[in-house]
Structures are given as C-alpha cells and as structure tokens.
C-alpha cells in the first residue's frame, strides 16, 4: 500500500474528480438507505449509484456501512427505509432468494459454501435453479463442474473434493466461480481478494472486468487500494453509514481517498519501528513443525522482537503457528523461556505465556453469538473467576479496558461479537489474547480483511507491545507489512525456514527472491 503519493498530495480537497449524478445512466440506484441495529446506526441514509459495464469500487473503513449496504443489496437484511432501483425498476428484497432471482450474486466475506458437498455439487447448489432439484447424476455434474471451472480459468481444484477440505484460497475461488457462472446482472465481490494470492488477484480483476463488459454491474470491495485501482474505474467512498462521494479513480490520489475514508488525514500506516529486540531468547525451535508436514523450522525469537514469517502462500506457515501454540501435534525441538519441552494443548501454551490470534476469526477465534465481554473472558477464566465463580465486575473491567485501549467500536461490552464489523472483531480477538498477558504473541495474518485505519492501529499496538518486552511472531501474506513492521523476517518454504533476513534496507523484491529461491530447492 502506497500511502505517500506526491502527486496526490498536491491536490486540494475541492479538486477531485467527483462525479455528478445528472446525465449519468444508473443501472443500480440506492436511495436514502437506513438500517439500525438496536442503538447502532449501520447505514444512515446512504445514496449510491452504479453503472453497468464498469467495475465499481466500494471503499470505507470497517463499520462505515459497506457490509450492511451489501447485505441489503443481497437481501440478507431488509433496510428500515430507503429504496433500491435495478435497471430502472424498483425492487424490494425480503430474502436472499429475492435478490438472486433479480440477478444479484454476492461473494460474501464469510464464505458460504456447503462444506459437506463436493465442489461440483456446490457449483449447482442454489435456491433458484429447480432443474438440479431431485436427481443429481454425478457424472454429468462432474462434467458440468469441469466445464465451468475451465471456462473461468480456475485451476487446481478437484471437482470431487469436498468443499470443506479445500484451502481458504481454493474455497474463495470456488465461491467466485459459483457466483459468476450464474451470469449475474449485479455481481458483488465483498473482500473476495483478501484470501487470494497475487496471481489469483490478477485473475479475479480480469474476471470482474469481463463480467462487467458483458453488461453487468460489478461492485468490488477491498481494503487494498492498489487492487481497487487495478480493477475499478470509479469508486464510492462510505463513511459513518453514508456515501461521501463517487470518484473517477484516475483523478484522485491515494492520500485523498484515505482522507475521505477516515474523515481526517492519516498520519501514517506503519509506525517508526526501532528494533526493541534484546539479547534474551524467549523461543527457540529446531526442525519444528506439525507432524503431518515435511520439513521443520529453525527459529530464534528474542525478547521484544517482532519476527515476521514470510514466503509464498501455503509453505507451512499456518501449521507452524498452530504447532507453536500446541494446537496440533508437533515434531522437532522447542524451548520456551529456556525450558525445553513441547506444548501439548493451547491451555498449556497459554500457561507458558504463548498466545495465538488464529487465522479465521469467525470459526476459530471468536464465539460470534456471545458478547464481546464473554469472548475476552474466555481466554482468562482464571483471572476473572474466584473459587470457580465468575466475577462480573472483573469481567466487565477487562472488557472496558480492552475497548478503550484498542479503540474497539462497540455499543457496549454486552454487544454480540458477530454484530461487530470485521476490523473490530479482529481487535476483540487481539484484545482477548493480549488479556492473557502472554509473553509471546503469535499472529496469523491479523490484517486480513481489515481496513487501513484499523491496520495502522494494529501495527501501532504491536510496536507498543514489543516496547513492553513482548515478543511477536507475525505471519503476513503482505510483503510490505513484513518489511515495515518486523525486525527480521524468516522466509519459509516447504515447512522449513530457508533464510532469515534483517528488515533494515530490505526490499519486497529481495524478500520475494528469497521465497522463490527456497521454492527451487
């Protein structure tokens, strides 16, 4: 992400190429949409117009109302007031199937595939298509799936595999294929790139343009500005539940976009990092990793150090973090605070001062149907209970402190975790693990699907933690993040660390070279 852009900085706020609505053909119109959840106003009279034939970006911080707007367009929630017009006709979606019948397809942030159905079955599983209802002939189904996946350029997915057995990236691509194959008139891609590798993002960008070229309205939601620039011709910026404006992306710089999203000037994305690493080693591994995988990682983590984990996608980084946390069976040697011996469960890891912020906040990290307070308390039951009885005051105290220190946007500690926006959920998860007072924090891509303001806050928090002597293992799929946030980066390939690089003077190119070279070995 390039926050500094000299040409953009020269532009004054009044100069942007803001689009006028008159004279513009609009195939999708949202007018004065309002949605309240209890006391929280998610959408506060948002107006929004998009034209078919172009890919239209939707930008905004977490909690700006993007997700709610998308849910309204997909029929997942009904607006309290406001109207929607699609290709000149007013529509009213009460259920998702209404939206689907009107030709709206959404690739949701939370993937919606059925894990117990195969890839081929998932591709045809839909509420609107009655012809696939009764008899599913496996061979025909398989042929159909192969054809669909081929025509859309989706590679490396076995049509007979269960959707639940696919990797996150594969599931994401399948989800996209499923939406596109329905030939939608409106295609909504909600953070569809957050789980994808760089080459796959390029694939999606081209696909989105193709779909638009065939006469559909395509909405593209991403927190990564370069992706939005690559895919979209124009973008609407949302802030605090209403649309700030729609802009031609050719005429507006990154700084101004970010300023419009935040409603203020952002200082900077990355903190001024000075290594806090001390002599003392808190964690050391040799040939370490999950028993089920090849290779084994040699790591040395110092007190107060931020150690990045890099490499190409799927080189055993995820398994390494789970193994370090005792959540999967491990092989190799590990010493925590100079004490040898593996951790056999997350409970043991937490007792030893090692905490993990897991990959998927919805299915691994949080109890979405429990309150924020309860989520934070779950990791520290010893602290918030006495003689086995929960202390409400202690529980509420911890939650209030977390909300304040990480600036979590929630109406109260009693709000359900599932009602928070993605970025705020991530903050709750971070707060939960910080509350355990762990000395070693393992972070699995904590900025995935998180807006730029929240990202900056997360990096700031990491910097502050390291100043307090806490050591962090930070796995990120974003090379730029690794370089700017970490002190050293361990590059992984096939489960082993192939090279450990100091970040001072490190370039993305150098990092990529290390990752690719490891691949060749």
């Amino acid at each position: 992400m390039h926050v500094e852009n000299p040409t953009a900085q020269q532009l004054a706020v009044g100069d942007f190429a803001s689009r006028t609505l008159e004279g513009q053909r609009s195939d999708l119109v949202v007018e004065a949409a309002v949605k309240r959840y209890g006391a929280t106003v998610a959408l506060d009279g948002a107006d929004f117009r998009a034209t078919s034939g172009e890919v239209h970006g939707l930008l905004g911080e977490n909690g700006a109302g993007k997700s709610t707007l998308i849910k309204i367009l997909s029929g997942a929630v009904s607006p309290d007031s406001g109207r929607i017009e699609l290709f000149g006709r007013e529509v009213r979606f009460r259920r998702p199937i209404d939206a689907q019948r009107a030709g709206v397809r959404t690739v949701f942030q939370e993937l919606s595939l059925v894990p117990d159905l195969t890839v081929a079955e998932n591709l045809v599983f839909s509420g609107t298509d009655a012809s696939t209802g009764l008899l599913r002939r496996p061979r025909r189904l398989r042929r159909h799936a192969v054809k669909v996946l081929d025509s859309l350029g989706v590679e490396g997915i076995d049509p007979d595999a269960l959707a639940g057995d696919l990797s996150l990236q594969q599931r994401q691509r399948l989800e996209i294929a499923k939406a596109v194959t329905a030939e939608p008139r409106v295609l909504i891609l909600d953070e569809a790139t957050s789980a994808l590798a760089a080459t796959e993002v390029a694939w999606l960008t081209q696909l989105a343009r193709d779909v638009a070229a065939q006469g559909a309205v395509v909405l593209f939601i991403s927190h990564r500005l370069p992706e939005v620039r690559a895919a979209c011709t124009c973008a609407t910026i949302l802030r605090n539940g209403s649309a700030v404006g729609t802009y031609d992306l050719g005429g507006i710089g990154d700084d101004l976009i970010i300023q419009q999203m935040l409603g203020r000037k952002m200082e900077r994305l990355f903190p001024d990092r000075e290594s806090q690493a001390r002599e003392r080693v808190v964690l050391e591994t040799r040939g370490f990793g999950p028993v089920s995988t090849s290779g084994g990682a040699d790591l040395v983590l110092h007190e107060g150090e931020i150690l990045g984990i890099g490499g190409l996608q799927g080189q055993g980084q995820a398994g390494l973090l789970l193994a370090l946390y005792g959540a999967v069976r491990a092989k190799g040697d590990i010493e925590v605070e100079g004490r040898p011996g593996r951790l056999h469960s997350p409970a043991q890891a937490l007792a030893a001062g090692v905490a993990l912020v897991p990959e998927d906040r919805g299915t691994q990290g949080l109890l979405l149907n429990k309150s924020l307070k309860e989520n934070i308390a779950l990791g520290i039951l010893q602290q918030v209970s006495r003689y086995g009885v929960m202390r409400r005051d202690a529980e509420a105290d911890v939650a209030r402190r977390a909300i304040a220190s990480l600036q979590i946007r929630a109406s109260s500690p009693r709000q359900l975790a599932g009602q928070l926006s993605g970025g705020n959920q991530q903050k709750v998860l971070l707060a939960k693990m910080m509350a355990t007072e762990a000395r070693v924090l393992l972070l699995h891509d904590p900025t995935r699907g998180v807006d730029i303001g929240t990202k900056a806050e997360i990096f700031q928090t990491m910097d502050e933690l390291s100043k307090r002597g806490i050591s962090i293992v930070f796995f990120s799929s974003d090379a730029e993040e690794l370089i700017h946030v970490c002190d050293r980066v361990a590059v992984m390939s096939h489960g082993s660390v192939v090279e450990t690089l100091e970040t001072a003077g490190l370039t993305e190119e150098r990092l990529l070279r290390a990752a690719v070279r490891g691949e060749g070995k």
């Binding site: 998702p96 429990k370 409400r392």
Partner: protein, 338 residues
C-alpha cells in the same frame, strides 16, 4: 468515559432508557417458559380450585420432579451441543438399585443414595470419555449406554418390584416448615443452580457449545469439560431415579425410557438451542413442569383419556411456538441472517 454534563444528561438518559427497553424482548424470551407455566397453572386452578393448596402443589411437584432432574442434567449436555439419551437407562438403574439395596435404616438409605448418584455420575462420565476418546457422536454413544444401563437394570431386577423402606417413604411425605419434601428438594436444587450458573465451568460448557474450535484455541480443556458435563447429567438422572422410586414404591427396569425425549422437550421449552451454546437449568425445570401440568390440565378440562396424547401434543406445540417466536424476534433485532 467522562461524567455527562447537565446539558447532555437528558440525551444520556434517553440512550440508557433505550438500552433498557431494548433488553425487554430478550427478557421476555427468558421469561416465556415461566409465563407458560403460570398460564397452565391458572387454567388448572380455574377448573380445579383445590389445586392451589400447598398439598396439591406438593403433589404436582412430586409428579414432575424426576423429569425436572433429568431435564436439568440434559440442559448441561445440550449446552455443549450434545445430547444424552442414556438418562433413560440411568433412571431405571437408579430405581432398581434403590428398590433392592436400601435397608430400613437412615445410614443405609443415606449411603446408598450417595452411592447411586455417584454411579450415575460415573455412567455419565463414561459417556463423556467414550465420545472424547473415540471421537463419536453423542447420539450414538448415549444410545449404546442407554441400552447398556437398561440391561444392567434388567439383570438386577427383571420385573417391576423390590421394596422401598417405609422410613424413606415416610420421610418423603413429611412437611418440614409446612412445605412438602419434594418442594424443598426443588428449591434446594434451584438454589444450587443459582450458585453454579455463573461458574467458570458453565462458561466453558457454553463456549464449547458455541464454537468448539474457538473454545479449544482459547485454552479450554475440551475433553475434561465434556466429561464433566455428561457426569453432571448422569448424576442428575440418578438422583431423579431415586426420587421416582419413592413415588412408585418400587423399582422398574424400563421406567426411565419415557423420560428421555420428555427431558429434551423440556429443555427446548426452556428456550435452549439444541445446537448448544446457551441454556438455563431453571428454565428447563419450568419446561419440565409445563409438560407435567399439561397432563393434569387435559384431565381437568374433561377430555377423554384417548384424546390425552393429542391435547398434550397441542400444548407442547403451542409452548414451542411461543418460545421460538421470542427467539425469532431477538434474532431479527440483532440483524442476523435468516
């Protein structure tokens, strides 16, 4: 947060009022099973005015207490996202043990009661151990152990019979401080629930039911917690079985079977989700008495005994619709999908 100034005080008050009012639907949802119970009792009393005496209430409580025990234990298991069918076998076994092992002395009665409850806890823990170690579905494990404990009960006492010591029967029929013993057992049981309701154990149990992976990654000892939950269910069923034996003055090797699905129904009327994550023992106990009273009400309204099953089913359906309507409203308010 800073103290509100006088100018913003009305706004703050308004917001507070809204948040208090906003909780009424969920409060109403929590109260539904109790309101249903009161409603049924009112119908019952309107037809049978003498039903609202301490004596009659004592009878009603005695009639539903075994189910209440089974439902209480079932609630704990359902909160984990599981189900316990073995309570049928454990209740039968408890009545059979009570009818064959008790001697007519306080020491014997006390010792065997403790032992039977411990056997129940052990049977429950076995369920937990099996499903944790073999990674099996709770339904299958507890179906098997239900059959096993029923078999043991048959082996001990092939036909209904045995003897409950007169000393115990007399004690159950006393009225300490003016209330029948079953009422006291119920009150003590509910007080016990109030104590453990806010315990870290119950928190872990709900967390497992809500999202097992997340609970595990948060450092919850999932196997131990599950074993404990099933042990509690087994202990509750055994305690219910002992009480049931005093009501029928004998032991019966298959009397527990009727309680299995009734206990699950009671938990549902109590508002718990069968997918786990939430539940209240007190509400499930209310659900158990809703089911018990439904039988009495059918009788009091003068329906023929052939129709009893149909009418009870209608009352059950109405109760579950009332509870799920509340849940639906709550979900809508929370803006959840579907």
């Amino acid at each position: 947060m800073s103290e509100p100034s006088s100018a913003t005080a009305p706004i703050v008050l308004g917001v507070r009022l809204r948040s208090v009012l906003g909780r009424i639907p969920s409060l109403g949802l929590k109260l539904t099973p109790y309101l249903l119970l009161v409603l049924l009792e009112l119908v019952y009393v309107s037809k049978q005015p003498d039903a609202f005496t301490r004596l009659a209430i004592g009878f009603t409580v005695a009639g539903g207490l075994c189910l209440a025990f089974a439902a209480a234990g079932q609630t704990i298991v359902i909160m984990t996202g599981g189900i316990d069918l073995s309570v049928g076998g454990v209740i039968s076994l408890a009545t059979v043990l009570a009818a064959t092992r008790y001697h007519n002395s306080s020491a014997s009665i006390l010792a065997w009661t403790v032992l039977i409850v411990l056997i129940g806890a052990g049977a429950g823990a076995l369920n937990g151990i099996l499903l944790v170690w073999l990674n099996l579905q709770p339904f299958i494990v507890t179906l098997a152990t239900w059959s096993f404990w029923s078999g043991v009960a048959f082996w001990i006492l092939p036909v209904e019979g045995g003897l409950i010591p007169q000393r115990l029967l007399d004690w159950v029929n006393t009225n300490p401080a003016g209330f029948a013993v079953p009422i006291w057992i119920l009150v003590v049981g509910l007080l016990l629930w109030m104590l453990v309701r806010r315990s870290a154990l119950m928190f872990r149990i709900r967390a497992i039911g809500s999202n097992r992976d997340s609970a595990y990654l948060s450092g919850v000892n999932v196997p131990l917690t599950l074993i404990t939950a099933y042990a509690i269910s087994g202990a509750c069923a055994a305690a219910g079985g002992v009480f049931l034996a005093t009501q029928i003055s004998s032991g019966s090797p298959n009397i527990g079977d009727d309680f299995i699905l009734q206990a699950v129904a009671a938990v549902v009327i109590g508002g718990a989700s069968l997918f786990g994550g939430n539940g209240s023992v007190a509400a499930s106990v209310a659900g158990a008495f809703v089911l018990t009273l439904a039988g009495s009400v059918v009788f009091a309204l003068g329906f023929s005994s052939q129709l009893e099953g149909v009418i009870r089913a209608l009352i059950l359906a109405a109760a579950i619709i009332a509870v799920s309507a509340g849940t639906l409203i709550k979900r809508r308010r929370q803006g959840r999908i579907a």
